[in-house]
Symmetry: C2
Subunit: 622 residues, 2 copies
């Protein structure tokens, strides 16, 4: 992280450019042209100007103040990091903290403008801001100050080698997915769509790369009509065979930077081609745009992309959810079979990691958190199908684990003492699946309170994993089941119970989510994490996480029922469990889970490991 003085310099630079640009405040979101959650460093102006690395935050610089909104995961770290920078930390979604739009509206005088870059600002945020500012007689102004002011040492646009996953890994070739998408567009009353989300482009084309740390996607866009499909991607990155394959599947290729030209100079102007609408008989090779009813998902597109589509003379823009999100979230049988296998291999890594950890704990030599990260990387990266980690691993001892997304850095990590809990949250992406698993290990003596808290979190995990429900239930309804063991004691965790996971992709995927009020209906084939926790600032953090798949549970005269099944099979530390606090159903689930862990992993382990595993999987309370 840069020194506070350097952050002050960057903020001052931005502030000094504002008057000439015609704005009295400037907003930088954590976003890129793909409205990515995880983005390439090239686009991370929010981090550059605030100096603080985190997800899901927003920087606002006014004439005399600067403020950074961070979510609950970062309250502790941001407070320390922002000291001396002149930036005030704002606690996102916390009583007493103004919303970004209320803050901006209050900071401007009537007639003044808030500047922003339309190339990266999500359309939804633009709309919220515009409505809030209009009430105060202030406005939004599209500018590109971060591009103008952040050139020196700015990381280049990434262009890592790209590749296509095979249908044996994805279950469907790009052409089949294209047909599904086109049908979904018609179903939604539309003919065309601009796909700017990297995860959705990756799904559609079976395309992967390493443009973003721990997220195996390539910078790209897709424009799909009923006749044409154009992939905007630096083709130099893709092997010729893969290029030919995409062409055979119905995709034409253009450069990543050609999108605006396609819809602008080449498209909208369109004077070079005189062919009639609705579709030019040249089948898109001339890039002339016909009449299209374009599906636009306001929560995916940037402000600039929406305006680009709306400006095309032949286009009618219809706002609907991106149909790829749901197509992608429901995994097919091939994807599920691959994912199950990837999880079993990762389970073996986790078993070996735990044995390594126990060995280190048994010796007197000092042990630090980052040692765990290195050990995990060593175990995972030797897999022949290894692509990348699914995120930077968290190994957090004691109070560090209370910071929900604490990530130890080499040389800045804490020691692992031989008492209390060590929380390890990690995962991997192989060519057949993406994993995300958390175990909390007792690394020495525990207090009764620690055992009680651990057991409560375990109850939450089990109550979610063991749920059975009538088809039609939403994530918000199901989330309710996980929290009862904590809510009964007025305890809670300040996050969802679980998030979707993409297939060989981002570790966060929507629209399904186990989270209060989420309205997505769960379907067989959806993958979700189950990761309740309990976090006490300055004291401890406990989390137990498996990925689950949603499955059919059967039919009866009452209808069709669904359930979850674990994808991950790794022992859950039973040393801290107080069996008397477990209900019979919960105890039965835990013992059955451990029996299956043993049965599934034993054939993949050596004798010594098998003996160890048998002890770890011993049933409780019998």
């Amino acid at each position: 992280m840069p020194e506070p003085m350097e952050v002050r310099r960057r903020i001052a630079l931005l502030r000094s450019a504002m008057p000439a640009a015609g704005c009295a405040a400037y907003l930088i979101p954590a976003s890129d042209p793909h409205t990515s959650e995880y983005m390439p460093a090239h686009y991370n102006a929010r981090e550059y100007f605030s100096g603080f690395p985190c997800e899901n935050s927003t920087l606002v610089v006014t004439k005399d103040k600067a403020a950074l909104w961070v979510d609950g995961r970062y309250f502790v770290a941001a407070e320390a990091a922002l000291r001396g920078t002149g930036i005030d930390m704002q606690r996102l979604n916390t009583a007493g903290t103004p919303t970004v739009e209320a803050y901006c509206a209050a900071a401007l005088l009537p007639g003044e403008a808030l500047g922003y870059c339309p190339d990266t600002l999500p359309l939804t945020i633009q709309r919220t801001l515009r409505a809030a500012l209009a009430k105060k007689g202030t406005t939004l102004k599209a500018l590109h100050l971060e591009n103008a002011l952040w050139q020196e040492n700015r990381p280049a646009l990434p262009a890592t080698p790209a590749f296509l996953l095979s249908p044996q890994q994805t279950g469907k070739a790009p052409g089949e997915k294209l047909a599904l998408l086109r049908a979904a567009l018609v179903e939604a009353g539309c003919t065309a769509m601009l796909e700017n989300r990297l995860d959705c482009v990756a799904w559609l084309c079976n395309l992967r790369a390493a443009d973003i740390p721990d997220t195996p996607y390539a910078l790209a866009f897709c424009w799909v009509t009923q006749q044409n499909a154009v992939l905007f991607l630096d083709t130099s990155r893709l092997p010729a065979a893969d290029q030919a394959m995409l062409a055979a599947e119905g995709f034409s290729l253009r450069g990543y930077g050609a999108l605006n030209r396609y819809f602008g100079a080449e498209g909208a102007a369109a004077s070079g081609c005189e062919k009639a609408v609705p579709v030019c008989p040249c089948e898109g090779s001339c890039a002339v745009l016909g009449r299209e009813t374009v599906l636009a998902d306001p929560s995916s597109l940037t402000a600039a992309q929406y305006d680009l589509l709306a400006a095309q003379p032949g286009f009618t823009v219809v706002e609907k959810p991106d149909p790829i999100l749901l197509l992608k979230a429901v995994k097919n049988e091939t994807e599920l079979a691959c994912t199950r296998e990837a999880h079993l291999r990762d389970a073996v890594c986790m078993v070996r990691f735990q044995r390594w950890l126990e060995g280190r704990l048994a010796s007197a030599a000092p042990l630090r958190e980052y040692d765990c990260c290195e050990a995990l990387y060593a175990l995972r990266s030797v897999d022949p199908a290894f692509v990348c980690l699914s995120f930077a691993p968290i190994a957090a001892w004691g109070p560090n684990a209370a910071m929900m997304h604490y990530m130890p850095q080499k040389g800045q990590d804490g020691p692992i003492e031989r008492r209390g809990f060590l929380l390890v949250d990690s995962g991997t992406t192989c060519r057949d699946g993406t994993t995300d698993i958390t175990r909390t290990y007792a690394v020495g003596p525990l207090t009764d309170e620690e055992k009680e808290n651990y057991t409560r979190v375990l109850k939450c995990h089990i109550d979610m994993a063991a749920a059975v429900w009538k088809a039609g239930a939403t994530g918000g309804e199901l989330d309710m089941l996980a929290r009862q063991p904590l809510w009964r004691h007025l305890l809670d965790y300040r996050c969802g119970t679980g998030h979707g996971v993409a297939h060989v992709g981002s570790v966060h995927e929507g629209p399904q989510s186990l989270r209060p009020h989420n309205g997505t209906v769960f379907c067989p084939g959806m993958v979700i994490t189950d990761e309740p926790g309990l976090y006490e600032g300055g004291a401890f953090g406990i989390r137990i996480e498996n990925e689950l798949e949603c499955r059919d549970a059967g039919d009866s005269e009452y209808g069709h029922f669904l359930c979850f099944a674990p994808l991950m099979w790794v022992p859950i530390d039973t040393a801290p469990v107080l069996p008397a606090l477990l209900d019979t159903t919960e105890l039965a689930w835990l013992n059955a889970y451990h029996q299956q862990v043993y049965e599934k992993l034993a054939p993949r382990l050596n004798d010594e490991e098998r003996t160890w595993l048998r002890a770890k999987c011993a049933p409780l309370g019998v």
Copy 2:
């Protein structure tokens, strides 16, 4: 019920009047000018023309057919009753059954019309019908055929003695409620409202009567502006002192039938008063209507009432939910204190009923279901505060209990054999509260399966009653908690887990409801039933029901928490319970509940009853 031939005659009468009236089909909903769930016999044209008594149904008569839509509660009974009438039974919300609007659209030729009475048709149904018919080039036509054809022996409009509950029973005088309503209207951006719902008028004016069986309301409307409040009610029914009280609280009174004149001849024409808008300085006594922004709840108003409001030159109609619904659903401290006391007195009745039942079961004399209804009425009606039963009681033995809303009639009831279960669902309305309680009693030997089913239903009841949640959860989210013990075995009940109950009013109240996907957020002071069940056609029915109140559970660093507390304290039959199937939490809840039942009721019982109660409340599994 009339003979099939008589029903044929009535349908033929209606059919023969259609051509002259200019319609090719006619629809009669189960509704009245107050869109009531339970309505006075005077308005029940649907029952008159179809001959079949039930709730929630619709009759459609076409040139050559007639059809009656009934819900799942009535499939068996309606099939038998409609035999020979020429009316086809349609199973509501069942695959393969057309919707009412699809049926009507299919029955009409382009240019033909569907007739209906706008005075009773709910606006929402009018809109659905209009949209469906428009697609086929057919239309709706407002007629009043049922009024014209149903005069002989038609029950008169009821005009039972009306009375006002005191602020000691309601916590708020009508004037205070009027102020709350006016503030809520302003909050919703409106100035005025026409209240046609009987339960809402009853709440606003503290008005009660006996116009509808088991539902203590008076036929009335209210028109409320920021300056005026007019109660449309047959004033001859209300004691002079109550009339004076309402006048003092700010209500002027007009006849029940004066509503149309008020907005029509007196209002809209308005030439008699030349005073300027927005409000005539005569303050409403001249009945001239000023400019008003009128809140109209489409799910409350009839088609005619909406048109009446929309036709007023000075009115702007804004569609929003009726604010009284939520004001009424959240009970104040006085209402809750009264309700708790009413429930304790009713609990004593239930204890005495169970002792009576056990006495009868112990003798060899035959016992029939209706005997239970009579015994309950005898116990409840002697309460000095007794107003009416809250609904016709259900006492259903064995297979009869599988019909969820089976109601035994004198002389048409079944015998109670000395085996299996007897389900008794009943309640009372006193001047201090309305109760609704179900117990399922073992009346002889039980099979293991019966015990298992009973225990599962009990688990559902307890899991709901013991819920603790972070404020903000909806009824749909909470409903999830109740069903797990059944869903795990692919079992379910085909209804909500619970419904709201009005204060000294209708036994069904919204908007709160424990039911999949219900979106109302639960608030402290809401009253709800908790009544999961299990029903196997031809075999058995099990239901265990208490009313619960929603309460604050406390605050922590994680926010504000809510919970339920039972309002009803009556032993739950433990004879059928398999304690091994109860989780520790469930067993603890049951034993704590029974301990409180004993403590709360003992002081109200004689020695013999107390001894009996102590045995019924003995803890399980300890």
